[in-house]
Structures are given as C-alpha cells and as structure tokens.
C-alpha cells in the first residue's frame, strides 16, 4: 500500500492519545470522559495496527490485539453507559465532579 514508515502513524496516535487525556481532564460530562477513553483506546489500537504493518513479526498479532481491544472497548462503553445512566437516575446529573460519594 503506502510506504510512509512508522513515525507518522505513531505521531497521529500520540496526538489522539494526548487529545484523549485532555478530554479526560477537561470534560465534566461523564459521557465526555467516556469519549476521552475511546480516543485513548483508538490511539493504542492505531499503534497496534501500525506495528502489524511495519513489523513482520506482528503481522497477525497486531491485528489480533486490535480486534480484541475493539471488542473490549465496546464492552467497556456498554458498562460505562449503564453506570452513567444509573448515576443519572440517582443524581439527576452526569457531572463527574458530583460523583464523589465515596470521597474520603
């Protein structure tokens, strides 16, 4: 396909990762936090596939990992949303700053 080399993909992935982390940091909406998590997972996944492409030793393994991550991300999203809905039912908000019932 294309012979770009690994670094551009790693850079893109790093950017996605940074966006995800900042999303976690600045979003007060729980769903926004969830989106940040999805971004981080995608960044990791992009790395996996890029390594699968640019390292013959991981041609299969990289993709397998990516697939497993995708599926687990779906599961994680389902559970997270269920929790968020529950939280919303109890607190009438999705502000993560209000989710501090267990603070010390």
């Amino acid at each position: 396909m294309i012979e770009l080399g690994l670094p551009p993909f790693l850079l893109l992935s790093a950017f996605l990762f940074a966006c995800g982390v900042s999303c976690l940091a600045v979003k007060r909406n729980a769903i926004g936090v969830l989106m940040g998590v999805e971004l981080i997972l995608n960044a990791a996944n992009l790395n996996f596939v890029a390594f699968a492409r640019y390292n013959p030793a991981f041609r299969v393994e990289g993709q397998v990992f990516a697939l497993l991550v995708v599926v687990l991300a779906a599961a994680e999203a389902a559970v997270a949303l269920a929790i968020i809905l529950n939280f919303y039912n109890n607190h009438a908000t999705v502000d993560v700053d209000r989710a501090d019932d267990l603070r010390g």
Partner: protein, 194 residues
C-alpha cells in the same frame, strides 16, 4: 509526493482535527459527532495500512455500536443546562499543558533514538480474515511475507504458533457478561424508582 502520502495526510489531518474537536466542543452531541469523524478517520487509517478487516470491525463495532450507544447515553441524560458542563479556564490550561507534554514525550519517543526500528514492510495487504481466523486457532501466518525477519539489528523473532482462541473466547464471554450486566444495571434503578 505520492498519492498514498497525500491520502494519509488528508486522513490524518481530518482525524487529528476531529479529535481536537472532541476535546474542544462544549456541546456533548457535537463532541459525539466529532468522535464519529475521528473513529471513521482511524478506520480509514487502518484501511490505508492494509488492515481491512480491522477497519471494517472498527466501523461496525465503534461507529455502528459504541457510538450509537454513546449518543443514546447523551440523549437519555442530556438536559438543557447540563448539556455543556464547562470546565474552568484553569483546568483547561492544566489539561492542555499536560496533554501537550504527553504528546511531546510520545513524539520524542516515536522519533527519537529509542524509536522502534524502521522496517520495510512486505508488499500486499496484511493478513485478512482467513489468516486471522487461523491465527485464532493457533496456525501460524503461512504467507511468505511472514517469513521476513527484517529487523535491522538482526534479531529474529520467534515464530512460535500461538492460539488466540482462548483470549477470543474469554473476550466473547466477557462481552456477553458485560452486556447482561449493563442491561441489568440500566434497568434496575428504573424499577426501583417506579
């Protein structure tokens, strides 16, 4: 500049911009739309990398499933004033600095001397759904490309066949359990309220 590089540039720019959109947009639904574009962009990246199956899986699972779920969540929880839970400027500053630092570090790692060795990939797409399925069953990648051990420092990776069937089954069961759990979580409280 070849067509491929141009394509990557366009896709990467769009992906990055959408990711930035996710961070910056105050409206959570808009953030979801930006996330949609980001995910599609990542899927396109997979296609560019030759991983068609992973790309399609990304589309069907993330775009078709996860994101719809997210939007569902938005719609079920969104209320007028809460739609934009704004963070304080200080938080923006801290988050931005932190993200920039992380990006810097990661970029330094990706480009610096510790970067993974650059390898010229063999031609052709990555192993598709067939070899992947065989890999799950423990058959090694039989394509000639898999025999290339082109790591510059001469290290040859062991090509022992590893079956991914167990992880796959574990993930499947995990998914099932999680979905049941999610359904239970999501409906238990409604009953309690009623």
């Amino acid at each position: 500049m070849s067509l491929a590089v141009a394509l990557f540039a366009v896709v990467a720019l769009a992906t990055g911009a959408s990711a930035l959109g996710v961070v910056l947009s105050r409206n959570i639904v808009r953030a979801a739309v930006w996330l949609l574009f980001t995910l599609i962009g990542v899927a396109l990246n997979y296609l560019l990398l030759g991983a068609e199956f992973v790309g399609a899986a990304q589309l069907i699972v993330y775009v078709g499933g996860t994101l719809v779920l997210v939007v569902f969540g938005v719609m079920l929880t969104a209320q007028g004033p809460l739609r934009s839970l704004a963070a304080r400027p200080a938080e923006w500053a801290v988050g931005g600095v932190r993200a920039a630092a992380l990006f810097g570090l990661l970029a330094a790692l990706a480009l610096g001397p510790h970067a993974p060795p650059a390898v010229t990939p063999p031609d052709g797409p990555l192993p598709g759904v067939g070899p992947l399925g065989l890999a799950f069953l423990g058959f090694p990648d039989a394509s000639p490309a898999a025999n290339v051990t082109g790591v510059p420092d001469g290290k040859v990776f062991p090509r022992t066949p590893v079956a991914y069937l167990l992880p796959f089954e574990v993930v499947s069961v995990h998914l099932l359990v999680v979905l049941i759990g999610a359904a239970y979580l999501a409906r238990a409280k409604r009953r309690a309220k009623a």
